[in-house]
Amino acid sequence: MTDTSVAAPPERAEAAKPAATREKPPGRAGWFARSALLVLCVLWLIPTIGVLVSSFRAEDLVKTTGWWTALASPLDAAQWTLQNYGDVLLAEGMANSFINSLVVAIPATIIPILMAAFAAYAFAWMDFPGRYVFFVLIVGLLVVPLQVAFIPLLQLYGDLGISRANPFLGVWLAHAGFGMPLAVYILRNYMGSLSREIIESARVDGAGHMGIFWRLIIPLSTPALAAYAIFQFLWVWNDLLVALVFLGGGENSVLTYQLSQLVGTRKTEWHLLTSGAFLTMIVPLIVFFSLQRYFVRGLTAGAVKG
């Protein structure tokens, strides 16, 4: 009797402590945040599924019944067709635009990452006069709207002959330039948070700046690099304005341009519009879902330590 009464209080005290901390473990959102997220997901998902379903239905079905009716008998093969995609890709020229979009987006992602990674390393780990001032200047460029640069850039490209020789080069450079401030900012903050002793250890081990950069910094910065790559790729892929200004329509046009044309010329051809829209969406979806774990981690890692 006395034994239990003596032993009980510390036990209870110990049991109470974790319970108190269990109330709000880190990384678990409350019910409000969760329901808000749920609503957002539903709001985003329903039209997306609608687009997906419609894009596979025959023209007359799309025009007479709602897309959700197709879900009532999903196994009825007669109502599904690939005809829409065939039409959009070939007759409407989206296949060509799809390739153009890739030709624009891939180099426009790799070029700024490479350049920004070098710059970020220098800002984080090399001593040179004015390094803080330069960094602030570059990050300050984040607030400059890209529209103000169009006319000077077009003039410059015209003078240099870039517009005529290789219009894609102009788009790559424009995207690289516009993406650079954010890239430098994210990467510098991430690289700056790497352990100083690891880098000093490599210096003593015999590595120069290039060795440290390629063998330590780049492998260790993968989360930030991936996060920025996703960011830049999606931005470039979804961009209409820059592509329109520097590439225009015709054989060089990108998907976003082609889609906007489709909306203009085929206002009520829903079967074509939905498949065109889904073609435009598919690459960002793949990129995001395959790399999403880097997305959040890389961005927050860069943001927390500055």
């Binding site: 352990s195 002793e197 690891i198 000093e200 250890s201 490599a202 210096r203 003593v204 081990d205 015999g206 590595a207 120069g208 060795g211 063998r215 330590l216 492998p219 260790l220």
Partner: protein, 411 residues
């Protein structure tokens, strides 16, 4: 292997903080040199200057035959072990060990041989394929050591390499470090704030404070004849007891303080040059806890003092008796620096005892002393330490005389 010479080295950080002040020190070939001192004393900065990770503001550092002031770390042929291991997290243990050799374009077979040898020496063979995250603290520490060993450098530089380990592991790693040094015989510079590590590992120990070298000597000599109050208080655990006393001559020489009078053998006075001029004046007397003994167990020739034991710490092999002395704690810049350091690192809550000083005596475990009881303590007065009340320098210490001469020359 090589000797390292620091010649009047200064380090002034931008902003004007002097971290290392006119440091001159020769480290012999194959020697294990320990830099020790409280935090912020410049010991790590000194090491980083040898490594080439910090610029040298003034003076010269020589490794082997070369002045290395303007050489980058990679060309100094040194290897460094960092406090937090600094392993490359994305590489396996094997890659970590091989990294420095690959950078030097060493043939693959030679790399393989050296990595294998080091792994065997450190018992890391079964972990070669693992990443650092999958290793325990002690294993990571061994990998960090291995990374230095495979390089076969002229010198090892170690910056508090054991301070991230738990106490037990630290002791065993300390022993392996000593063994390793014995076996490889490579010149080693080791930085620590732990005086026990310094005493057990160092062939010689350099005590630094505020960027200035206080004393460099073998551990035993540092313990037996510290050059000033700071070194006296820093080296040895429990720390030396200090009191301001008067040196008097009645039947024979004696020190008088707080109602106690301890006779001192005549030859101890004459052995310390200049001490006889202090008769009738005040000096700071230092007594090591280990120079006390329970009166009933001690040599009858030793001086006696009767005190009340406040606390007894029974350690099995000996007993630490903590008691109060009716004299104010010695106030000198050297001792206050020490107190500051203790408060900094361990938040040591010493109950302030007003106008009394707290002393510690280490007596034989057979002593029957209990807290609150009177105890008759014997003191080996042949081993008293005498310090000047103004300069804090040990009276009669040959180096202290030099320091004093330099100080007056500067003034």
């Amino acid at each position: 292997m090589a000797q390292i010479v620091l010649d009047s080295v200064d380090k002034v950080f931008p902003g004007g903080v002097t971290a290392v002040d006119n440091l001159s020190l020769g480290i012999n070939d194959g020697e294990f040199m320990v830099f020790v001192g409280p935090s912020g004393c410049g010991k790590s900065t000194a090491l980083r200057m040898i490594a080439g990770l910090e610029d040298i503001s003034r003076g010269a550092i020589t490794i082997g035959e070369r002045v290395v002031n303007d050489l980058p770390p990679k060309d100094r042929d040194i290897a460094m072990v960092f406090q937090n291991y600094a392993l490359y997290p994305h590489m396996t243990v094997e890659q970590n060990l091989a990294f420095g050799l690959q950078l030097r374009k060493m043939p693959k077979s030679e790399i393989k041989r050296r990595v294998g040898e080091a792994a065997k020496m450190l018992g890391l063979e079964q972990y070669l394929g693992r990443k650092p995250a999958a290793l325990s603290g002690g294993q990571r520490q061994r990998v960090a050591m291995g990374r230095a060993i495979v390089r076969e450098p002229q010198a090892f530089l170690m910056d508090e390499p054991l301070s991230n380990l738990d106490a037990k592991l630290r002791v065993s790693m300390r022993a392996s470090l000593a063994q390793l040094h014995e076996r490889l015989g490579v010149t080693t510079v080791y930085v620590t704030h732990d005086q026990i590590e310094a005493m057990t590992l160092g062939d010689r120990v350099a005590v630094l404070r505020e960027g200035k070298l206080q004393q460099v000597d073998t551990p035993q000599n540092l313990f037996d004849s510290p050059v000033n109050l700071f070194v006296a208080g820093f080296i040895g655990s429990p720390a030396m007891n200090f009191v301001e006393a008067e040196l008097v001559r009645e039947d024979g020489p004696a020190v008088a303080f707080a109602g106690q009078k301890l006779p001192v053998p005549e030859e101890s006075i004459t052995a310390k040059e200049g001490l006889d001029s202090y008769f009738g004046r005040r000096v700071i007397v230092g007594i090591r806890p280990s120079d006390f003994e329970d009166g009933t167990l001690a040599d009858s020739g030793w001086a006696r003092m009767s005190v009340t034991a406040d606390v007894t710490e029974e350690l099995g092999s000996e007993i630490n008796v903590i008691f109060m002395i009716d004299a104010p704690p010695v106030e000198h810049k050297d001792t206050s620096d020490l107190a500051h350091d203790v408060a900094d690192e361990e938040e040591a809550a010493i109950p302030l005892a007003g106008n009394q000083s707290i002393w510690t005596a280490r007596v034989n475990a057979r002593s029957r002393v209990r807290p609150g009881e009177r105890i008759n303590l014997a003191v080996d007065t042949r081993n008293l330490h005498f310090f000047d009340t103004d300069s804090g320098l040990a009276i009669g210490h040959p180096e202290a005389a030099q320091v004093a001469a330099a100080a007056t020359a500067e003034a």
